[in-house]
């Protein structure tokens, strides 16, 4: 092997990179997660858009059916609202079981 060949081999042997670079791996995983999130959001957006279009198209047919619950909400709406608020407040303020051992 000539001197030039040895130098060439040494040049290619030294790539200046560590065997494992955790920062690189984290960057890859973060980028993969971000891309997956974007794909899921795009999918959800498309589904929502489709749903909106379907509802818009069906609105004339649905209108008579929705009259009954609309009238119910119109009359009993405030009462239902108060019940929901009170129930939620009770749920939030209720003491929780800490899950620890019960002392005698």
């Amino acid at each position: 092997m000539t001197d030039a060949e040895k130098k060439l081999d040494a040049f290619f042997a030294d790539d200046g990179l560590p065997a494992r670079d955790q920062a690189f791996t984290h960057a890859v995983m973060r980028r993969a997660a971000a891309r997956r999130l974007r794909a899921e959001l795009a999918w959800l957006g498309a589904v929502c858009l489709l749903g909106a279009v379907v509802l818009w198209a069906l609105a004339p047919a649905l209108e008579p059916i929705l009259h009954l619950p609309a009238r119910l909400i119109e009359t009993a709406g405030p009462a239902i609202g108060v019940i929901v608020v009170v129930f939620t407040l009770l749920l939030i303020t209720a003491p929780r079981d800490a899950g620890g051992p019960v002392s005698a």
């Binding site: 060439l8 790539d15 890859v28």
Partner: protein
């Protein structure tokens, strides 16, 4: 367990959705992919960006890996296609860069000892045509066989052999060997 066996086990786990298994695959093969791209691309930051994209794409397509070639070859194949695509958008700036490097090479003194040898080799590597550079990076830098490089670069075996021989001769010329 052999490295190939461990790869197959990790691939199976990644196919089932294990990000930890895929993270280990990234750990195991990042150096080969990054080194290949750095040599073929000539710009470390761009190369690392492409290497990250390569692994993200690999995870999306891990179900398509059939194991006919090794994982390293498959990954470098993805990296090569990413580089070729990116190269088209960089074409203008890269052409300017190559022209500058060729001018530098002509103006460089005959004895590379007067310059930093490493920089001279990097400049010579960057002045090679892209396919030739990629073949040299895989076969001389990445210890790929000619067949593996042909698989990754989607080139005929004879073309890869010719690229490596010519590229190597050019680099040896820079080192002062006719």
């Amino acid at each position: 367990m052999t490295p190939e066996g461990l790869d197959l086990e990790l691939i199976e786990a990644a196919r089932r959705g294990s990000s930890a298994a895929f993270g280990r695959l990234v750990d195991r093969h990042q150096r080969a992919v990054r080194a290949f791209l750095r040599r073929a691309c000539g710009n470390d930051a761009e190369a690392d960006d492409l290497a990250q994209e390569t692994f993200v794409t690999a995870w999306e397509r891990i179900g398509r890996f059939r194991g006919e070639a090794g994982l390293r070859t498959w990954l470098c194949g993805i990296a090569w296609r990413k580089l070729a695509t990116a190269r088209r958008s960089w074409a203008r700036s890269s052409r300017r860069e190559t022209e500058w490097m060729e001018t530098e090479a002509l103006e460089r003194p005959a004895t590379p000892g007067q310059l930093d040898q490493r920089m001279a080799l990097e400049a010579a590597l960057a002045s090679l045509p892209l396919e030739q550079r990629a073949a040299v990076a895989l076969c001389l830098g990445g210890e790929f066989t000619h067949a593996e490089a042909a698989e990754a670069l989607e080139l005929p075996l004879g073309t890869v052999k010719s690229h490596v021989t010519r590229g190597r001769a050019r680099l040896l010329q820079v080192l002062g060997e006719a």
